[in-house]
Symmetry: C2
Subunit: 231 residues, 2 copies
DNA sequence: CGTCGCTTTGAATACGGTCAATTTTTGTGG
DNA sequence: CCACAAAAATTGACCGTATTCAAAGCGACG
């Protein structure tokens, strides 16, 4: 499963095959940036000037279409890198990154980055790996949305989110993100109404318990079945 | 527009900022591989062992879903790299690459690649850029399919293909690819029937002329309007 | 306690999918 | 060169999923 957040900075793919000492040196070149809920790290189409690693808080990555529609591509939780396009030259951010709560991130500016890539070529190789994972994820999500119906896509998304941020509770796995029906709809490419109906149905089947911006998975296996079963 | 094929090898993003001499050295380490129509360069989920640059022919990149459905992610034409995941360690191909006609490609195996990346760190940076473009393309296509209806998606795809491989003829721009209705359907995430109906409608409006595995764009502006207009 | 935002639910509708039958095109072999 | 088979494309009828619009319910928070 791609984009699993890691718990320690040193475990980031970006630092693969680097020594503790090298990682320490790289980390020293970062600055810390705190931002408030609602603020943006960057906006879609801005020149990609910095690369981030989120260490605290939650960040939404969204993309707007020409006609003003919006889709939610991902929720970033600690510790996960974002804005990796900045590792390439002369790119613009393909998404906007907005803090959903107070956040802290490590930031490397463009010039620092290119120095780092010069000194630690392995970082570039690691960056390729990160990007490769992104490509895979989106190719797969593209394929999914092109071939699967809403119910299945939603089941997959919820399982994915549970995997990413789920916390075990006595009654089941809770998705620890404040996601509205609208947010979920934007993630799977449907409407908030269809999401609401689907969740209600699952709730009546005892699979989940849904609340306001909250989902508790009572019976994961049931969801998996919906996500994978034939037809 | 990402993935524009280039006409000369030296213009590949992969070779950005390298000298003629360096490029020559890199090219010397490639071997040439010819394959027949129908054969595969690699299959989805195979370990990514080589990176390719197509110099002759046409290659289809497809992805299968668990339940056997298939979608066509891209048609590769010369000169375009594919299988770039091999530039990252320990990845598997996310797609299958099948020759649609007799093809020639330059091939770099995994071990050669990592030597090259060591000698020419700039190549890794360039690879990041390539991957970044892929990510952008698929994020955008994902957003499109999630928010736009079939007619618009199809219009966009045809314009994209025309941009990529279109050849001017006295009567209009011809998409120079043997794409069946089924192929187009797989690319935009719909059925061959809907594609057929939509093309017929456009034909009756004088926008295009459609034939068996052939599309001639008579009135590009009309398509652009469908691709971009509000609502 | 009232307002605001999120959520639910119903009814009507439309877009696009499915299935079946037919036509057109292409390529092949006699 | 023609005839025939195979593949691709078209078209119609029907139907189902998901969207749209409207209205009402619920919960959080000042």
């Amino acid at each position: 499963m791609p984009f699993q957040p890691v718990s320690r900075l040193e475990d980031l793919t970006l630092f693969n095959k680097l020594t503790e000492e090298e990682i320490r040196q790289i980390l020293k070149t970062a600055r810390q940036q705190h931002i408030q809920a609602g603020e943006f790290y960057f906006m879609q189409d801005d020149p990609a000037e910095a690369f981030y690693v989120l260490t605290k808080g939650k960040v939404r990555l969204t993309q707007f279409t020409a006609d003003g529609q919006q889709i939610l591509l991902r929720i970033i939780v600690p510790v996960t890198p974002f804005g990796a396009v900045a590792l390439a030259d002369h790119e613009t951010y393909p998404v906007s990154a907005q803090a959903v709560e107070a956040c802290t991130a490590l930031v490397w500016g463009k010039t620092v980055l290119s120095q780092l890539l010069g000194r630690f070529p392995q970082m570039a190789v690691n960056a390729v790996k990160i990007m490769a994972e992104h490509v895979q994820e989106f190719q797969q999500r593209f394929t999914e949305i092109a071939t699967q119906r809403v119910e299945r896509r939603l089941a997959r998304m919820i399982l994915r989110l549970a995997h990413q941020t789920g916390v075990k509770t006595p009654r089941g796995v809770e998705v620890n993100l404040p996601l509205s029906r609208q947010d979920l709809a934007e993630m799977v490419g449907t409407t908030l109404y269809t999401v609401s109906r689907t969740l209600s149905q699952w709730e009546s089947q005892g699979l989940i318990q849904a609340g306001r911006e909250r989902i508790l998975i009572l019976h994961p296996h049931g969801l998996v079945k919906i996500a994978e079963e034939e037809t």
